[in-house]
């Protein structure tokens, strides 16, 4: 059982703290010859796999690096457009690394506020009276999302904060929780 990340969201839906404890990165690097049999498209300023998944490269994976050099969004490190670069046979053979895209700070902010709205809608659409918002979200890889119940703490914290003591205590708390196995399926 592993705790991947912690997000703290205030009452207005703003992300005020974020910590990545353990983020597994499945990445696959392969050498390709022309023409590339994987169909790529641009989505959210990144180049992602749209069709042709094979050998660990999944639909939704992003192009992370070309010939060992990290890309910059939809451009190579030298500023060339990746899709144009990969259409040119003279650039082959080419080594491309694919994997799940890392979230930028901005994306984390947007996801936190998106979740805040979903949390509230879960309460509004409840068929039973007196329901809270979404307390636990389940997916097929059993990665659970447990929103922390708002308490007095949330009234004090409203703005993004950075506090070393909080970081240290959070890390200790996560270690204890992981060893005790309090978070997991069936708990």
């Amino acid at each position: 059982m592993a705790i991947f990340s912690v997000y703290v969201v205030n009452k207005a839906g703003g992300l005020i703290y974020q910590y990545d404890n353990y983020v597994p990165r499945t990445e696959v690097e392969k050498t390709f010859s022309f023409p590339l049999d994987i169909v790529l498209k641009i989505h959210d300023e990144k180049v992602i796999v749209s069709f042709g998944q094979r050998d660990g490269i999944r639909v939704g994976h992003a192009v992370l690096s070309i010939n060992g050099v990290d890309v910059n969004g939809k451009y190579t490190a030298e500023g060339k457009e990746i899709l144009e670069y990969l259409k040119d046979p003279s650039n082959y053979p080419v080594s491309i690394r694919f994997g799940r895209a890392r979230l930028s700070s901005n994306e984390k902010l947007m996801l936190a506020s998106m979740f805040h709205s979903l949390f509230a809608i879960g309460s509004q659409l409840s068929p039973e009276a007196g329901s809270s918002g979404i307390e636990m979200l389940e997916t097929d890889i059993t990665a659970y999302l447990h929103p922390f119940k708002p308490g007095t703490l949330m009234n004090i914290l409203f703005f993004p904060f950075r506090c070393e003591l909080f970081d240290q205590n959070l890390k200790s708390a996560l270690e204890i929780a992981e060893k005790a196995g309090t978070f997991g399926p069936g708990s």
Binding site: P127, L137, E138, L145
Partner: protein
């Protein structure tokens, strides 16, 4: 204290967001908006949850989002490869409903709707046979019991 398990309601959407069917059995609280708005809100919420989960997940997933729970109810979600979405709200005691929703799809929806040449795709389901088979199916579930008032 004896906790009865129950099914509150069920929605069926097509790939375009049209609500093909809605039934309720034990719903205690309405959403406070028109049914049309409620269907849009439900579909929109599910669409956003799936998008959220696919972005925030640190690992690759096969099916993605399958359920969520609040303090009072649990929502189970199942989507077919053709984009038909089955959404069932139950109480918290109910565990995995994926197989049940799949069975509902294959034995009731496919048999009564897909195989019926008179049922037009993309429209609210009018078939009485479908409605009664679905109702019987849900009432026959081991965790279904009508709550006493």
């Amino acid at each position: 204290m004896y906790t009865e398990m129950t099914v509150h309601n069920l929605y069926i959407f097509d790939r375009n967001g049209t609500c093909l069917h809605y039934s309720e059995w034990n719903r205690k609280k309405q959403a406070g908006i028109s049914k049309e708005e409620e269907f849009k809100l439900m579909y929109g919420m599910l669409f956003s949850i799936r998008s959220f989960v696919s972005k925030i997940s640190p690992l690759d997933m096969k099916d993605g989002f399958i359920a969520f729970q609040t303090s009072r109810y649990k929502l189970h979600y199942y989507e077919t490869p053709t984009g038909i979405k089955l959404v069932m709200n139950t109480d918290l005691g109910v565990q995995n409903c994926r197989d049940i929703l799949h069975q509902l799809y294959s034995t009731v929806y496919v048999e009564c709707i897909v195989k019926n040449p008179l049922c037009a795709l993309g429209e609210t389901l009018q078939s009485e046979l479908f409605s009664s088979r679905l109702d019987s199916f849900i009432r026959a579930l081991p965790f279904f019991s009508v709550r006493a008032a």
